[in-house]
Amino acid sequence: MLSIRDLKVAFESPQGPITPVDSVDMDILDKETFTIIGESGCGKSLLANSLLGLLPRDAKVCGKVHMDGKEILSLKEKEWRKIRGNKIGLVFQNPSASLNPVFTMHNQLYETLKYSNKPSSRDKMVSLLKKTGIKNPLRRLSQYPHQLSGGMKQRFAIALGIATDPEILIADEPTNGLDVTVKLKIVEMLSKLHAERSILLITHDLNVASNLSDKIAVMYAGELVEIAPAKSFFEKPIHPYSSQLLASHPEKEMIPIPGFTPQLTQRPHGCRFHPRCALACRKCKTEHPQLEKIEEERYVRCFACA
């Protein structure tokens, strides 16, 4: 239902043009939970923001994004407002910083619902909060963000995201900074929402990804290097970055990936991962691999694996 082709986000920097998001192709199906895994600096948050038209003014976006057949990237701000928050919902990162501290929870929900012309009655709000597992919803509605715990704020952020019943919900790092018991509850809650709508999940937390996803896409240095169904991905990751990433997890062998993530202005020639790759060959240093289909529903950007 959401189809992205050749999406690029570029900026001008003192060192020349930089492309934090570089030629992304992907499809999200109806009612599918699609997860983008990547480490800091890979561009995943920017990608999510571009799907909502929320990029800074000096960002140059190109490519095509089709939602239910309609192209949305080239929309004017007025039309974006009909889609943003309405058909595409957002659960933003870090609710402690993104919730307005001077408004009660009721006001914040009201604002969201009213803006998209959805029913904003108290009952509706209570049922929304119940859905996200907030106990005592009536009491919570009259409270301010600082009176809620981290987990509750996150649940509220999710409630805000689904308030307008969007067809697709973008959740940007929804479990960041939460304790493990709280994280578990949030993950369980998110999986209940799974059946109702598509979810685009952005995270660097492999545990959360493995528990919620139908499909995984791995992002490195601005590009997608692997797309696969979740189960087969975690059983057998194909791209060297994916397998090395998994191997560095404490539940696995915890072997670090040598080297550092390339800076935006210092991306290697050829394959962007080659300086850190155990399988790099001469071709990897000079030619840039494309995303290729190697199995049913599996795509990899790698010469050594194709």
Partner: protein
């Protein structure tokens, strides 16, 4: 090598004299750290683990109790004891962004502990280069500011600075919580190497049980300011005694890479 006896600490939540509500941050904490081991303290946010760590380096003062380091009482240290404490114990914080002065060059951040000890500039220079290579960074990083380096690189600098004075006990307070998983693995491998080479004891604070399972010799579980359980790693994970520990372990298992929440 370190012994903590019945440590208590409360904070009062108001400065108005008649309305003080005190919050017990640490309650009756007692445990030992053995030489050369890796002891991990686990607990969720607000359980007091950071406050405990700060008491051990005298950044906070407990209300009651004793802290005994290698036979010396360091609970309420005078200047001489403080000096002794500083050379024996050092701490690394969670966020490298705030533990390095943003206005200082990396070189100056690394030089600080040495300069504070009164070493002359030549010696300082040599040692800074040594420390840098020890943590896997290169000279070019010296002339930068923290905001020009990544989180992982900054954390390495913080580690280098902490080991500058050859401490016997290193306290790491959630040092990888803000880092990506592959960077975390790098930092932990570095820590493991350093611990061995420099013959240190490690007190590692974390809320990540999977991590703790991997690196700890013994584990201490904290909840709401109390030490709930402390045992060898194997025992804690296969034979947890307290209900809280059991809850933590079961959450960890349900979020494991191998589990899939039923849809």
């Amino acid at each position: 090598m370190l012994e903590v006896k019945t440590l208590d600490k409360s904070y009062s939540s108001s400065t108005i004299p008649f309305r003080k509500k005190s919050v017990k941050v640490l309650e009756n904490i007692s445990f030992r750290i053995n030489k050369h081991e890796t002891l991990c303290i686990v607990g969720e946010s607000g359980c007091g683990k950071t406050t405990l760590a700060k008491c051990l380096v005298s950044l906070e003062k407990p209300d009651n109790g004793k802290i005994i380091l290698e036979g010396r009482d360091v609970t309420f240290p005078d200047r001489k004891t403080l000096s002794f404490l500083h050379t024996k114990v050092q701490m690394i914080f969670q966020n490298a962004d705030t533990s390095l002065n943003p206005r200082h060059l990396i070189y100056d951040s690394l030089a600080e502990p040495l300069r504070l000890q009164g070493q002359n500039e030549d010696k300082v220079r040599k040692r800074v280069f040594q420390l840098l290579t020890h943590v896997g960074l290169s000279e070019e990083h010296l002339h930068r500011h923290p905001h020009q380096l990544s989180g992982g690189q900054n954390q390495r600098i913080a580690i280098a600075r902490a080991i500058a004075l050859h401490p016997d006990l290193l306290i790491a307070d959630e040092i990888t919580a803000a880092l990506d998983v592959s960077v975390q693995a790098q930092i932990l491998q570095l820590l493991k190497t350093l611990k061995k080479e420099m013959d240190m004891t490690l007190l590692f604070i974390s809320h990540d049980l999977t991590l703790v399972k991997r690196i700890a010799d013994r584990v201490a579980v904290m909840q709401d300011g109390k030490l709930v359980e402390i045992n060898d790693t194997n025992e804690i994970f296969h034979n947890p005694q307290s209900p809280y520990t059991k809850e933590l372990i079961s959450s960890m298992a349900r979020l494991s890479l191998n589990s899939h929440t039923p849809k």
